[in-house]
């Protein structure tokens, strides 16, 4: 369903993703792990047509994201690391917007929006502006939105970051149900090791732009002679703390969050 061969991305001399290859089968739940700045988000951005790779080949559901970007785009849904909703629109309008952009016919769109908003328990709040929503509600809405066009592949970039255990559990329950009923392939990145261990069929660990290990959680533990995935992860990637380069955009977002939090 997803196939990546010798994928590389360079930014002015710095290699963010270095010649990686992997495959994800249909209906599989695949976890992509790595320390900050390891190349997870860059890989997801390339797969989802937001970034052009420097070299290498990709295939999503039989389509090349670079050359057949529109066909590839129809094949996947995505929940980004940062919120990507329009705060000044209502939950329903955000869904409607997505449905129109993905050519979901009117009648079907109405039915699916109702079904999905009920599925993530936001139907009662459909006419509320998104800016009134909590972080968890926004995440749920993003998941519902990403599923509106019935994608074959669902990308989630650190979907549970900053959510409480209740919301996290509910989210994964939804996603597993989807994976079981619709055979949707799920590709996610996370920093929570127990989450990867519990949910994923297979795991790949990326560090410094290279995939350094892959297999089931048990495989990784065996390979490193450890008892938990967290220990296996640390054995593979070392204990030094990574500094993520902070762009001005992150500063801006952080500032904005501070301001909005202060207002509340």
């Amino acid at each position: 369903m997803i196939s990546v061969k010798n994928l590389t991305k360079k930014f002015d001399g710095f290699t963010a993703v270095d010649n990686i290859s992997f495959e994800v089968k249909e209906g599989e739940i695949f976890a992509f792990l790595g320390p900050n700045g390891a190349g997870k988000s860059t890989t997801i951005k390339m797969l989802t047509t937001l970034l052009k790779p420097t070299s290498g080949e990709m295939d999503l559901n039989g389509h090349d994201p670079v050359r057949e970007s529109d066909e590839a785009r129809r094949s996947f849904g995505i929940v980004f690391q940062d919120p990507s909703l329009d705060d000044d629109l209502t939950a329903y309008e955000n869904m409607e917007f997505h449905g129109v952009l993905y050519d979901v016919p009117d009648k079907l769109r109405k039915e699916r929006i109702e079904y999905l908003l009920k599925f993530v328990e936001l139907w009662e709040r459909r006419d509320n502006l998104v800016k009134e929503f909590s972080g968890g509600m926004k995440r749920r809405l993003e998941i519902a939105r990403g599923l509106l066009h019935h994608p074959k592949i669902f990308f989630l970039d650190e979907p549970t970051l900053g959510l409480d255990p209740q919301t996290r559990n509910a989210l994964w329950a939804h996603l597993r149900e989807l994976n079981k009923n619709e055979k949707t392939t799920i590709f996610f990145s996370t920093h929570y090791m127990e989450e990867a261990e519990r949910i994923a069929d297979r795991i790949a660990v990326i560090d410094h732009g290279k995939i350094i290990a892959s297999g089931t959680a048990d495989d990784l533990k065996k390979q490193t002679n450890t008892n938990s995935l967290e220990d296996a992860f640390l054995a593979l990637t070392g204990k030094s703390i990574r500094e993520e380069t902070v762009g001005s955009m992150d500063h801006f977002r952080a500032m904005h969050r501070m301001h909005t939090n202060n207002k509340r």
Partner: protein
């Protein structure tokens, strides 16, 4: 087509919902109309030029269109910072359609703003020579809006964050406004200023509005229309070109 419509609709909804933005963006034109319109009125009259408020109103309409459209175009930066741009960029549609939808939405909002300012100016004593001319005047307003929304989108595609915004306001938008003949007649200007006004596209927009609304143009309507059309096509193409290049 439907995709372009929903992109357009999104911007209209956002505009109508931000009451503070509407009120805020009307305060400045109002101040200009009151302070300058009444303040310079008697001097202008004594110079034998007639009613200054009537002369000024098209200039202030042009000003509010300029500010609103550049700002609408630059909302791309906003969407980029708050993530919504990604949602449109991963959707199965061409970057060109995204650009069309955004620009039309921004231009509609700016035109609306211009029309509101026109009616407010009427409350203060502005009277067009003929009510019929309001319709072509609104068309000109839309053309000017399209021109500057494209310019705003172009700038926004090249900037990473809002920090450059102040710079753009002070070194581009303000000069565009002050040197356009919004506040003074273009006849009998010192040569240097006349040339600068000639390369400022806003001059032609305001000149066309004056020709239609108060029957006193400088460059002539045909010239105004040709220049506005050509510059709009140019900025729009450049805007689409740079917008296509955005990578996140």
């Amino acid at each position: 087509m439907k995709k372009i419509y929903i992109l357009w609709l999104r911007q209209i909804k956002r505009y109508l919902r931000s009451k503070s933005r509407i009120v805020g963006s009307l305060a400045q034109p109002l101040l200009f109309l009151l302070a300058m319109g009444y303040g310079f009125g008697s001097v202008y009259q004594k110079a034998g030029e007639g009613n200054y408020l009537n002369f000024l109103a098209p200039g202030i309409i042009g000003m509010s269109i300029l500010f609103t459209s550049v700002f609408s175009g630059m909302e791309v930066i906003w969407d980029r910072q708050f993530g919504f741009l990604k949602e449109t960029l991963v959707a199965p549609m061409s970057r060109l359609s995204i650009m069309i939808g955004r620009t039309l939405g921004g231009a509609t909002v700016a035109t609306l703003q211009g029309v509101i300012v026109m009616f407010i100016a009427m409350l203060f004593g502005f009277h067009p020579v003929s009510w019929l001319m309001i319709i072509p005047a609104i068309l000109i307003m839309f053309l000017v809006s399209l021109l500057f929304t494209s310019l705003g989108t172009m700038i926004a595609s090249l900037l990473d964050d809002m920090q450059g915004f102040q710079l753009i306001m002070n070194f581009l938008v303000m000069p565009l406004f002050f040197l356009s003949g919004a506040l003074f007649p273009l006849d009998g200007l010192p040569a240097a200023l006349a040339i600068i006004a000639q390369i400022d596209p806003l001059s032609y927009g305001i000149d066309a509005l004056r020709a239609l609304l108060i029957g006193a143009g400088h460059y002539g309507l045909t010239m105004d229309f040709i220049v506005l059309g050509a510059v709009t096509v140019l900025f729009w193409s450049l805007g689409s070109y740079f917008f296509r290049k955005i990578q996140i």
